[in-house]
Amino acid sequence: MGRDKPSRYWKSWEQGPGASELIQISTNEFPEPLDRPPSQFSRRSFLKAAGFTAAVAATVGCSRAPVEKAIPYLVQPEEIVPGVSYFYASGCGGCSAGCGVLVKTRDGRPIKLEGNPEHPLSHGGLCAAGQASLLSLYDSQRVKEPLIGGKPASWQEADRRITEQLASIRASRGPVRFLSGTITSPTLNAEIQRFLATFPDAGHVTYDALSSSAILDAHQETHGARLLPHYRFDLADVVVSFDADFLGTWISPVEFTHGYRSNRLNESAAPKMSYHAQFESRLSITGAKADQRVRVAPDELPSAVSRLAVSIARLAGIASPVPDSGTGNPPDAILETLAQRLWEARPNSLVVSGSQDRRAQVLVNFINQALGNYGATLEIERPSLQKSGSDRELQALVDELQKGQVAALFILGANPVYDLPNGSAIADGISKTRLVVSFSGQLDETASASRFVCPDHDALESWGDAEPVRGTLTLYQPAIRPLTNTRPVLESLAAWRGQPRSAYDTLREYWRTEVFPKRQSRDGNGAGAAGADFQSFWDASVEAGIAQIKTASTTHPFRGAAVAAPAAAGALSADEFSLVLYPKVALGDGRHAHNPWLQELPDPISKITWDNYASVSPAAATRLGLKEGDVVRLELQSRDREGAGAQTIELPSFIQPGQHDAVVSVALGYGRKGTERFSTVGPKWIFGRSGVNEEGRVGKNAAPLLEFTDGSLQYSGSGIRLTKTGRQYSLASTQSHHTLTIPKNIPLVGGDTREIVHELTVAELVEKVHAAATAPPPPELPKRRFPEVPMNGMWKDDHPYTGHRWAIGVDLTACTGCGACVVACQAENNIPVVGKDEVLRHREMHWIRIDRYYSGEEDVEVVHQPMMCQQCDNAPCETVCPVLATVHSAEGLNQQIYNRCVGTRYCANNCPYKTRRFNWFNYARNDKFQNLALNPDVTVRSRGVMEKCTFCVQRIEAARIESRRHGAAKIADGQVQTACQQSCPAQAIVFGDLNDPNSRIAQMARNPRRFAVLEEFNFRPAVNYLAVVRNRESEITKEAKAHG
């Protein structure tokens, strides 16, 4: 049988190498204990009730349907046909990365955000947070009008009082400070400067809650300009990352994911692959993709960078700026080989670091300089503007505030009371300031401490622009009229400086004077194509949502003198852990904490929803005697904070394989004000439990554990003590839900254990490609993988597929597991949020889930596998439905007919891939206002109905009608993009027609890396996976080398 070999992959520590309950967990029919008393409802009473119900239903059913009104426009806009969706190019307001989006509006309402495929940075991808930012527009708890002292006021009143106070501050030469997150909008920056110029003492302080301040400061030292390089992962053949989660959360993950993926694997006749090494303390999705991942504690990182610098300097034949600091973790051998690889690939190599240690960043600059990467994989001529915060200036401002020296403070796009370590001191400082104005659209921690709240428009309601990378502009246009009485910051500032002007006029004026003269055609070849007069340039820019401009050429020579050895980290005592605070892919710095889609998105690695937690490695957990869910007290013994007592926070613990043993990691962005609303998320029923913790919020704020050291915010390295409190807290993790297991008693055709995911090394791929090239081409697509063993004919081959035959391909080498597809699917298909309690009951509704498999024990490796309905040709679900609510379409889809479904759940029971979801309740949206974001092209399912992915059949049908209207016989390849495919930053998902031999999906199905999950059971799924490839030697070559 060959079934004795255990599977290489496992899903969680408890089920994997960690221990014992493996079989019980995965094979129990009921994952939750059935501890409720048996029902007292007898068969007779059931029949009575059923009969009565039927009678009532018949009576009611005979009446006429309720009267429905149809209300047309009074004056119909010429460009709008009701019922047709229109796409407007704009920009994403989710963070400062400035990705391009296409806003899908239907009958005047934005209902979906898609990536703009023509955007030069994001290339059509859009992350989970970007997708979900649609819900912020329809958030009923938005600040709907200006507030003065917490009370609603009119704009006239607010303007009058603010201008009065500003006049007296101007007269008394009081200091005015403008505090903001990174602003990439050149128009807004110019307006802020104009506004501040009216005061004798004014300053603009920028900071980022997820700061990259050290990189900017390091470039100030080495290049004489405080800039953030534009990293070109698309050009890097060798990438070495020191704790930079560039595929998940670092600076501009969508852009970096696209670049990284585009250079990752070149599947020509001689396959070529980039090489990626990751040194990190916690397990990030970037580390999960790495060819070599080394666990390194935060205090070991500076030495690792120095030793790499020494090796590179030796290779370059230049004097090493740092002394050889000996050995340690990571081993010298690894660093030596890496240095060699970097050197050979130069200038197409790239070293990045997410560290906030300025001196380590200076060394990273030295390495990149020695490799000649500046000008190749790091652009400083056209630098990135996505992070410009200065922690040093922030610290100075905080001091000023605490001393009560600031007369007026304006706060835009920042929440310092929440996300800085000394938040209460800042709140205190704010209360000492005469005039405090917040522009926040949410009544967050800082806005509620501010006297004036002058809410800004949502990004989808406003005109605006962004320059994420010097010379590349994203133009934002409104997709809906403002829903509430908000006002753009541009207009507020203009009004307060006494020259009121609309945001549109300000923006246009800036573009006429600053952008238009420097215009460049989008491929960068001169100005001719970009529009001769301003109006046509403007129209083209609004239509595309993008513009390119020429930039002044400046050179920044490298100053070698600045390079010095990084300070050795202070040693931690034996009972201390090193703390790592990190942002999660979904929640980031916490600005989207009010967004239920993001709260319910499982973390790509831990698969936990609705909470943050203290992660420890399995070894550390064993040492401390911790089990998952044990609440631990984290105690920060601050070394730098004079007089401040120990900071403590109590969090549930989570055992995270692949984490460094001396590290505790905690996610930032939780415990936000405004998450109290989620206490009632999910269905209301007798066994329903609250979705929030004992503080009444979702998760806990870890920002008090941050530290300011050496002029920058430190996210890692502080010593922390862990003690068990003895309490328990349940974490809603989806990692053991919907597990694919092959029962041991089923004999397999072919007689071998086949893994659910497949992995290859480049060497193995080369062999495969050669084998495929020399073998005669198969006469048709391989129907099954085991042709030598006849499949017993349980299913008849009765699907002729004469027209289209839809299929999806997922390239697992490209997939990073980031979860953008999950939220895209949720937005497209009206998938409800069920709440933490229901997730604990295994009732999450996501149609596409991303299975995360570990392999190995100590240094685990991770593979992500998006799993949606596989649309099997021989579908086990179809054979068991008693009412034919799930049947096969002529084009290969397992149709799910909601109105026919009676909810027996047999199909879900019989689904080998566990991709069906049942509506246990009518999951009304917690926030009724957010129903405005529902997609009118997809039925909202009600209680008792099964649902699942159908390859976005509404998009297929729309494309069919569109192509037939234009006289095409068939839907062209690429005309239909599923929601998951559209948003994928890595473009890992391909949808198309297998019957068209030239389609991308048909080519994918012929790829030698292709496999299907559980293929040996002859379900013949329509989802084709391409195996994960890692750039390393195959086991065989390694062995041969060892012996040779």
């Binding site: 149809a70 019922g83 049908e957």
Partner: protein, 217 residues
């Protein structure tokens, strides 16, 4: 005694039900079947006059029919394309014209009370200019043809292959007051799809899908 009473009550019930069935069978319908539905509308608009007598194309008002899921109900601005000038039935206007000629005076403006409703909706004064004293208010028509929320019908798909409007909506051009002429049941839809596949539409071969997901998703 008790059983006797029950029997009598049940018997009477049975007789009454049978009687209702026999006499009312023409108006009984299965749940959801709205065939014959003819609700009152806010304006006594006559399709017979506009589409029949005047021979205005259906698409002039229902302009979404060939490009959108919804055929659409015309905006008041569409009505105004004609009714800026046509303020009353032609007969009434002509009568007043002749009367005025006889009495040797300028004809008085005549506005039919039904057409006045359009002007009111748009808040227009008698000179057809926006009246700031009035507030505009959209016209609330009562929807007749209605499918359940789980059924997706697309007008443009049918119009583009040449299905006549009358196939589903009946002889609207003869109707003074529109009523639903088809039962809009699934069987009715599917039968038409089957027949179209066999016989074609307007002499052309068509492929009308019979997959559930054509309409349900």
């Amino acid at each position: 005694m008790n059983t006797k009473l029950v029997t009598i009550v049940l018997g009477v019930g049975l007789i009454v039900s049978v009687a209702v069935l026999v006499t009312q069978s023409s108006t009984l319908h299965i749940p959801g079947n709205q065939e014959g539905y003819q609700p009152p509308q806010p304006i006594a608009f006559s399709h017979g006059l506009h589409a029949g007598e005047m021979q205005i194309s259906c698409f002039y008002c229902h302009s979404g029919a060939d490009s959108s899921r919804h055929a659409g109900i015309p905006a008041a601005s569409t009505c105004m394309n004609c009714h800026r000038y046509v303020t009353a039935p032609l007969g009434a206007l002509r009568e007043e014209d002749e009367l005025a000629k006889k009495e040797n005076r300028r004809p008085a403006p005549i506005v039919s009370p039904e057409i006045q409703k359009i002007y009111d909706a748009l808040a227009l004064n008698p000179k057809m200019e926006p009246d700031s004293q009035k507030t505009s208010k959209p016209i609330e028509w009562t929807r007749i043809y209605r499918l359940p929320d789980f059924t997706y019908f697309n007008h443009s798909a049918h119009v583009s292959v040449g299905v006549d409007c009358q196939t589903c909506h009946g002889p609207v051009e003869t109707m003074e007051h529109v009523r639903q002429v088809s039962d809009l049941s699934m069987g009715w839809c599917v039968n038409c799809h089957r027949q179209a596949n066999e016989k074609g539409i307007a002499g052309k071969q068509v492929r009308a899908s019979l997959d559930c997901s054509t309409c349900h998703y």
